[in-house]
Symmetry: none
Subunit: 209 residues, 4 copies
Amino acid sequence: MTRSGKPSAKRVLIMDAAVKAFAQNGYHQTRIADVAREAGVAAGTIYLYFSSKDDLLISIFQEKVQGFITDFRNRLSREENAEVKLKKLVHLHLFQMQQHPDLAAVFQLELRQSRHFMSAYPKVDLKSYFGLIGEIIEHGQEQGLLRKDLYLSAVKKALFGAIDETVTSWLLSGRTYDLTHMAGPLADLFIRGLREDSLRTKMEDMSGV
Amino acid sequence: MTRSGKPSAKRVLIMDAAVKAFAQNGYHQTRIADVAREAGVAAGTIYLYFSSKDDLLISIFQEKVQGFITDFRNRLSREENAEVKLKKLVHLHLFQMQQHPDLAAVFQLELRQSRHFMSAYPKVDLKSYFGLIGEIIEHGQEQGLLRKDLYLSAVKKALFGAIDETVTSWLLSGRTYDLTHMAGPLADLFIRGLREDSLRTKMEDMSGV
Amino acid sequence: MTRSGKPSAKRVLIMDAAVKAFAQNGYHQTRIADVAREAGVAAGTIYLYFSSKDDLLISIFQEKVQGFITDFRNRLSREENAEVKLKKLVHLHLFQMQQHPDLAAVFQLELRQSRHFMSAYPKVDLKSYFGLIGEIIEHGQEQGLLRKDLYLSAVKKALFGAIDETVTSWLLSGRTYDLTHMAGPLADLFIRGLREDSLRTKMEDMSGV
Amino acid sequence: MTRSGKPSAKRVLIMDAAVKAFAQNGYHQTRIADVAREAGVAAGTIYLYFSSKDDLLISIFQEKVQGFITDFRNRLSREENAEVKLKKLVHLHLFQMQQHPDLAAVFQLELRQSRHFMSAYPKVDLKSYFGLIGEIIEHGQEQGLLRKDLYLSAVKKALFGAIDETVTSWLLSGRTYDLTHMAGPLADLFIRGLREDSLRTKMEDMSGV
DNA sequence: CATGAATGAGCGTTCATTCAT
DNA sequence: CATGAATGAACGCTCATTCAT
């Protein structure tokens, strides 16, 4: 029952408190009591909404990531050109992480370990995000913008990893610079790497994205 | 003495046992007693060589990564062409991870958290690996092979992240495919993305690497 | 909260169990689990009321000694004559220790070490007991019963030490005799030692105290 | 075999190092390794001379106290007058403790606990010191200097306890005053308390002791 | 629904002691 | 005799989880 998708206000309250607490001290260093204090509820209350501490972390990942992916998909659907989509995706990703640095910290720094034990939670992984990237690239291939001879699964991982590491580095730097500034160069690098040779031209500016 | 680089046989024995144990169950799930059993020593013995469980993890990272980076540098030093260097670096990275999957698991899945608290251990981070990547790219620019208008720090992170994610995905897949097969497409993607426009040609094969 | 003087029933329950356990086997030989078993609570519960095993010992000393001193003060306040006060104090001290042999054992046998590290806990020491002794003697001096040329701080220590050793010897003997029987001779010895020369008379009996 | 009284130089070396170490940090807080370092020997060597850490502590107590008592006995044997003997005993006790503050710390602060578990070691206790005190007092009674109606066992404990507490207080004060200054007042108090009524006179000075 | 006192399994670490050299 | 690396039993403390109110 705790895993039902009910958007209970208190459930969200607890998740947000958990994000803040996890971001500050890391998942393992954070006690349920810390989350409870941060949320202004009793420790026991958390177990009315989540079956375990692990479930809390996984739920955060699941629901928040789901939200981002859905949001990204919606925003990108307006756009027709695959290259522009790619640019926008990179930009959106970095922008959202910059807007939600606590969430970013949880994703970037706690995710790996989570991915480990989340092997058991198939729905939790990043497959649908990889799927989104794949769709865009395939779209670009259909549009004749991107090369056909791509090892798609390699490209998807490469792009995700590049964005991911960009965010991680930014976090570990203490967030001392504007993360979205990395979007242009990053997208540029990949688009050049993927572009159909016959279409080689100067990269246009990212302005307006 | 504990932190000194002394190549004590028993110290190495313990580190290897720890890598195996951490890889299997994750750092937090692994008890010191597990490492001891795996190493065939008493639990107390571990504390003759490492000051804490954390120190053990950090030492693994520090010393093993250091070894890889030194090894990579040596092997690449023979090569003159920056593009070939890049290809070889990607290939070496994936090859070594495939050769040492337990070590890879520890690096990929426990590293992030480690990076988190390792902020306090300046020597422990990946700076020198980023440095190696940067040197290769700058070399390529000097050779006129790679574009001059690169945002170097973005490129370094992107390349590292791409390789890193490639390894992680392979691990989480259960190591069901040959990781080195990803080297070619991955290197190709980046070299195309970085290459001087005037030099655009078909990518040559990775054969011989 | 832990250190607050709240008369929590469970807190007292734990302290009493600890006294019993410490008395039986000594502080260091007693495990928290022993105290918990004796108290009929879980080990973790102890840490809801005391911050550490040391805190438990110190709290026993602090609160129980405080209780005794307050009690002694009250009982002695009714008495006017300083010599009688002194007799009563010695008797009360021995009587209470005989009534609470477990507590006595903890005080006598664990106290010294405690005094050692309790240097850091100013409120914990015996100052107020020494103070009580001092007040009685000064009172006797004002009454003209006791000599004026006393080295007060030496006398206080001597009296306390004499009573203290009397209790310790009794404990180490296995409590094979009536401790209060020592009160008369002990008080007699000190009163004779302190008495104004001009008042020398036969010591009256301790009967009635 | 380790308990043989052989005055091995290394045995003494270790005991002295142990006294220093125990005095500094307390018996329980001191590791065998600390004693070994202080003594300049290997940890294992200690076990060639003492069967256990406890044996080391007990041996210190046993042999050092024995030495003091023998020494006291010798020095007092020259003296005929029991009152003077008593004065000298108090002075000697305080003087020796002041001369050997580390030893004093071990005796005063670790002794009680030791006395506890030393019930099992009958030869270790203070009986012979109590015996010495008793002999002096009985001598005084025979000389007609001290009252006959004394509860001897009470008096012995009282005197020992008074001296003992005087030393303990001095130690806990941080040894900020001259301990031997307490000898006069302390002896005076007891001699007055013990003296035959018919002999009441002004106490002579302690000068010359 | 909410609470928070109580639980108790779990583990990192210490250190007295041993023994092969 | 001396060493000191190795041992492994022992334990204080934490904290996720439960449940009576």
